[in-house]
């Protein structure tokens, strides 16, 4: 069983479209991270959200932490081919990081 359910698993869209990736759990996390992973590399942190209801923006990426600190979403506006990659959410409980299964995003030019 997966502690964090991430959806969708795959997403193939055209350049310029918007998309949202969801990360859901029945557990409460002290913080939640979003990572991006390129083929052959380790995950690289995009953002950490800590407070329930928190919203963070990173250029065209908007991250939201649920009020109850059990879920999160990543919204990308006007996706670019350079956004292509595997997006992973990870919830932290006492410094242990539990990962979702990932969303493989492909943005076509």
């Amino acid at each position: 069983t997966q502690l964090l359910e991430q959806s969708p698993q795959f997403l193939s869209i055209q350049e310029g479209e918007n998309l949202t990736v969801y990360c859901n759990s029945s557990s409460v996390f002290s913080s939640l991270q979003w990572y991006r992973q390129e083929p052959g590399e380790g995950p690289v942190l995009l953002v950490t959200v800590v407070t329930g209801g928190e919203v963070k923006k990173l250029k065209r990426l908007t991250f939201q932490f649920g009020d109850a600190r059990k879920d999160s979403s990543l919204h990308i506006t006007a996706a670019q081919p350079g956004d292509t990659g595997l997006y992973l959410c990870a919830g932290a409980i006492f410094n242990k990081f539990y990962f979702g299964s990932g969303t493989k995003l492909n943005v076509k030019p």
Binding site: T48, L86, A90, N95, Y98
Partner: protein
């Protein structure tokens, strides 16, 4: 800026062989982790350590062992390799705190044949 260093990057093992995956970090982080990632999937926690001399099991510890004799090093041992252990292994470290992140090595791609 070394960060987290893993060796080797690639390895092919025969069924029943043993090997040690090495991991070292130079950020003085207390926490270290071993994850495995199967193709197209997220990461599963194998073992973690909160400091030198202290280790604990994660989600998928069977078939693996770890030790943490120093703050810097956290090797992962496979005693009797099985095809189910074919995966990419990532080592990570983090500092103490709620607003912290995990820093990852570049991974070890292991194939058991």
């Amino acid at each position: 800026n070394a960060g987290v260093t893993q060796t080797p990057k690639f390895r092919i093992l025969k069924i029943g062989q043993s090997m040690t995956l090495q991991c070292a970090q130079d950020m003085n982080h207390n926490y270290m982790y071993w994850y495995r990632q199967d193709p197209g999937m997220g990461l599963k926690l194998i073992y973690y350590s909160v400091g030198a001399g202290i280790t604990d099991k994660g989600e998928v510890p069977n078939g693996y062992n770890v030790s943490r004799s120093t703050t810097e090093d956290f090797p992962l041992r496979l005693e009797l390799a099985a095809p189910s252990q074919t995966s990419v292994y990532f080592c990570a470290s983090s500092s103490i705190g709620t607003n912290t992140e995990a820093f990852f090595g570049q991974g070890t791609r292991l194939t058991v044949v």
